[in-house]
Structure formats: structure tokens, C-alpha cells
């Protein structure tokens, strides 16, 4: 990889220890993927949750912070492994919380925005079309490439902070025009779609696309950005997908043929039986759950409002907990507007700055979890410790409330 003279200096340690460490990481990755150079980024999004980073990850982040590292570009952060405000009332053990707070402190010292969300593009990090960013969080990367029209690879833990400290990322993958052309086409012909359908369509697309870039035709004109958020999260949970061309939505892809640059590609029709197979694959049980989790990725204020209407006049059954995961910002707005009170009147709880798939569900005592999130169902089931049920929001609410 070619480095300019200022980058060479950083690699030699002339910009301090933190930048030297970061350069070690990004240049090795750059060489491994065959990148020609490092290019500037406009923003970064990093991981700082204890459940995946473990004690080793704390040492890495503290090493960056204690050796004088500062984020060179605006940087947001994925959810923590605990509700940073109300963790005690959720039964999180003290020793576990202490390790998460070490990550929080190191992250704050590096100068990051303390927004703790996986939907930074709805909350605190707003790139504009055409910008290059270095984001971790696979669902947000799909949204960035497919809806916002900016350019990001899926940045791995350790590399995320390195890119943020340097304000640079290796030039490869989705940053290059030729890799963004759609190479497989999916077509929907399914009639009206439920919340679950959007997630399952994403999951099916992600699995079948593999390493190819898909174009997806046939979404209704009424599709919302929240629905696309969940579709993208489902796709990214099922495979390496980092972009889905949505004709009329994705900048530069007015039509499917524009997305494929006029090339003929494999066409896959998505049928009801494909979605049923996804539903079956993501459910291991039919028992009443001990936890219902909504909000992987985080719910928007608008989604919280809709949930509060669905929960109106209902009470959670005994033995079932229901957590609604959201960002701190959406939580505060829900509090100010009375949405939180109306949700919690049902016995459900609103929780912020954390998310279900990265929280210690087993340690919190849960054995059966029900959700409409394909991402949550996929991640939790691969560990084989917790049984998952995957169903539509409306049917979950009808089953677990009276």
C-alpha cells in the first residue's frame, strides 16, 4: 500500500503512540485486502460493548486512550451491554457493569459522541450523499450504502477505533465504484407486507446474495425508513451484504437496470414459502417466552409511538417481561411526550443505550426469548443457550398480553 510522507511519519511513531498503533492496524488490513492507499473519512462509528470486546477489548480501548489518542473525526458508538442509566433495575451484576463503564470512560476520553445507539443515522451521525465513512455495526453500514448514498465498508472491532483516531481508512471494497454495482436481483411479488416480512425478506436476501451485491425490486411505495432499517439488519445478519440497491431509493439507482449497470444478472423471485422457511429457521420453540425483545436495531420515536398504541389497554401476562430497546435521545422524547408512561402502563419497559443481542441475556436469567428481529434471533440462536421465537409484533403482543 502506498503511504504519503505524513502517513509514513505516523507509522514511525512521530504522531504519538496511539496513531502509530492505529497505523499498524490499518496498514496491515490495507495490505491484506490489496488496498492502494488510505483515504480520509468524514465520520466513524465504533464498538465499545463489553459482551463482545471482553477484557481484552477494554485493554485495547484503554491503551488508545492512555497513549494520547483522540478521535480525528466525529465518532459515534454502538449500544453498550447494559442500560447505562437504569442497569441496576434490570438486575445487571455489579462486576459486569464495572467493566462496561471502563469501556465508556475510555471511549469518552477519546472524545466520542456519547449516543450509544446502532441507529446513529437516525440520532447523531448524519453523513450526506457521497461521503466516505468508516462504520462498524453491519445494519448501519447497509443503511449508509443503500439509503444515504455514502460509502462504507463493514469495519471490524479494533480497526474501527484505528480509523477514527487517524481519520483515514484503506481504499477497498465498497469505497470503489466497481464493487457497488448490483450483481444479483431479487423480485418481490407478495402483496401487503407485515413488520416480520420486511425482516424475513432482508434475511432471505442476505443469505442468498452471499458475497454478491443485491438489487431488490418490488417494495411498496409506502415503505418507511424504519422498515428499510430492519430489512437491512436482517440481510446483514444473514451474510456479508453491505449494500442493497433499492430502485427509486438508493441514490444513483433509479431503476434495477441502473443498479446492475445494464448487465444481465441472476434473478431470484422471493415467494411466501421462502419467508416461511426463514421464520421456521429462526424459531426453535413454541413456548411462552420469558422475554419479549423489540428494537434490534433500536426503535425510533415513531415506532415507540405505534407500539404504545398497540399496547393500550393491555397487560403483560405473569412471568413474561417485555423490553423495548431504543436510543437515549428517543427515550427522552418518549418520556417528555408521555409515550413511555403509556407503554409502561402495560408492564413493558423502555430501555436505552443498550440492545438485546449484546446484553448478557443468559446471566439476566432468560431462557426463551421472543422477537420480531431476525438479527436478534440469528445471533442468539447460534450460541445454542437460549431458545428463540421469531414472530410478528402484533401476534407477539396478542399472545403475551391480555
Amino acid at each position: 500500500m502506498h503511504l504519503d510522507s505524513s502517513q509514513e511519519k505516523l507509522l514511525r511513531g512521530e504522531g504519538g503512540e496511539a496513531k502509530q498503533f492505529a497505523m499498524e492496524v490499518v496498514t496491515r488490513v490495507g495490505d491484506a485486502v490489496g488496498a492502494g492507499s488510505l483515504v480520509p473519512i468524514k465520520s466513524a462509528h465504533v464498538l465499545a460493548h463489553y459482551s463482545s470486546l471482553h477484557d481484552a477489548g477494554i485493554e485495547v480501548l484503554e491503551r488508545f486512550a492512555s497513549s494520547g489518542g483522540k478521535f480525528a473525526v466525529p465518532t459515534s458508538v454502538d449500544p453498550a451491554s447494559i442500560d447505562l442509566q437504569n442497569w441496576r433495575s434490570f438486575g445487571v451484576p455489579e462486576d459486569y457493569a464495572r467493566q462496561q463503564f471502563r469501556l465508556c470512560d475510555a471511549y469518552a476520553k477519546l472524545g466520542g459522541m456519547r449516543c450509544w445507539t446502532c441507529v446513529q443515522y437516525q440520532v447523531c451521525n448524519f453523513p450526506k450523499q457521497g461521503e466516505t465513512v468508516a462504520w462498524a455495526e453491519s445494519s448501519a453500514v447497509v443503511f449508509a450504502n443503500s439509503v444515504l448514498g455514502c460509502r462504507s465498508n463493514k469495519i471490524t472491532a479494533g480497526m474501527d477505533v484505528s480509523c477514527a483516531v487517524l481519520g483515514l481508512t484503506p481504499m477497498f471494497g465498497m469505497l470503489e465504484d466497481e464493487n457497488r454495482t448490483a450483481t444479483v436481483s431479487f423480485k418481490l411479488n407478495l402483496g401487503p407486507l407485515t413488520d416480520l416480512d420486511y425482516r424475513s425478506i432482508g434475511f432471505f436476501t442476505g443469505r442468498r446474495a452471499g458475497a454478491r451485491v443485491p438489487v431488490l425490486e418490488g417494495l411498496p411505495a409506502s415503505v418507511t425508513s424504519d422498515e428499510i432499517k430492519h430489512l437491512g439488519a436482517g440481510a446483514a445478519a444473514a451474510g456479508p451484504v453491505t449494500m442493497i440497491h433499492l430502485p427509486g431509493i438508493t441514490p444513483g439507482s433509479k431503476t434495477a437496470s441502473a443498479a446492475t449497470a445494464g448487465e444481465k444478472v441472476e434473478q431470484i423471485e422471493v415467494s411466501r414459502s421462502d419467508l416461511a422457511a426463514v421464520e421456521e429457521d429462526l424459531s426453535q420453540t413454541a413456548e411462552l417466552p420469558d422475554l419479549v425483545a423489540f428494537g434490534v436495531p433500536h426503535l425510533s420515536v415513531n415506532e415507540l409511538g405505534m407500539l404504545s398504541k398497540q399496547l393500550e389497554g393491555r397487560k403483560l401476562k405473569r412471568g413474561v417481561k417485555m423490553y423495548l430497546y431504543t436510543s437515549g435521545q428517543a427515550y427522552e422524547m418518549a418520556e417528555r411526550t408521555g409515550i413511555r408512561d403509556s407503554i409502561e402502563a402495560s408492564g413493558a419497559r423502555l430501555t436505552h443505550s443498550t440492545d438485546a443481542e449484546i446484553s448478557p441475556l443468559k446471566r439476566l436469567g432468560f431462557n426463551t426469548v421472543m422477537t420480531n428481529s431476525a438479527k436478534l434471533a440469528e445471533i442468539v440462536s447460534s450460541e445454542g443457550e437460549i431458545r428463540m421465537r421469531y414472530a410478528a409484533q402484533k401476534s407477539i403482543i396478542e399472545e403475551v398480553t391480555s
Binding site: 492496524v25 488490513v29 455495526e137 479494533g158 447460534s382
Partner: protein
Amino acid sequence: MKGRGLVAGQAGGGALLSQRAFTFAHGVDPSTGSVTDVRSDIRGANVKGTVLFYPFGKGSTTASSWFLEAVRHGNHPSAIVTEGVDLSAVIGSVMAKVIYGKEIPVVSGVTREQYAKIAPGARVKVTSTKDGARVET
């Protein structure tokens, strides 16, 4: 066998061979080195001290930190050999060098068909440099 040297170093160990996509994230218990992934063909095996072969990485981008946690516990493979480039292994290995002073060579470009000829547990030596890598039994 020849491959690309992604992270330099020399190491040896018994061959641990997976024919399926592999991940440390939710897939290896860092505190024991045991493979826990329900979808892995080497579930129950231990990666510690082995030369670990798998075709591709998969799953969460947090795999590099799961790998690094295994290094912190001393339960890491002595070398990793893959077919495609697994960025998580590259990043995990680079961080292992900087944080824990451990050298874990990473090599790509060795196909499943090639390493299928190695007997499980056979002694393997890995030499990885910028100019190329050798995997010898």
C-alpha cells in the same frame, strides 16, 4: 503449500481443520479455547496451540476482539491458515502483537482441497513473510 503472508511470523502446532466458515465471535469460548459454534464442523475441539485451518471467516465484525480475548487467556491458535482473507484474524493478530507481544502468523490463499490432504492433528510448520508464506507438514 504456498500462500500469502498476511501477518508475518513463524509457528508450529497440530493441524485443526475446518471445512466450514469459521468465527471466534459466539463461536469459540475465549476462557477455554473450545469451539462452541453449533454450526461448526469442529465443535468441541480446542484451538489452543493448533495451526487452525478454515476457508473463510463469517458473522459478526466483533470476531477480532473475541480472538484477542482468547489470546489474553493464552487459548489462541499458534497460526491461522485460510483460503480467503479473514480480516478479523488479521486485526486480532496485529492487536495481539501490539497489546500482548504474541506473534500469531496469518496466511491466506491455501484452499480447502489443499489442506484436506493434511491429517488432523499432524504437526504443521507455518512460515509467513511479506513476500510469501509456506505451510509444511
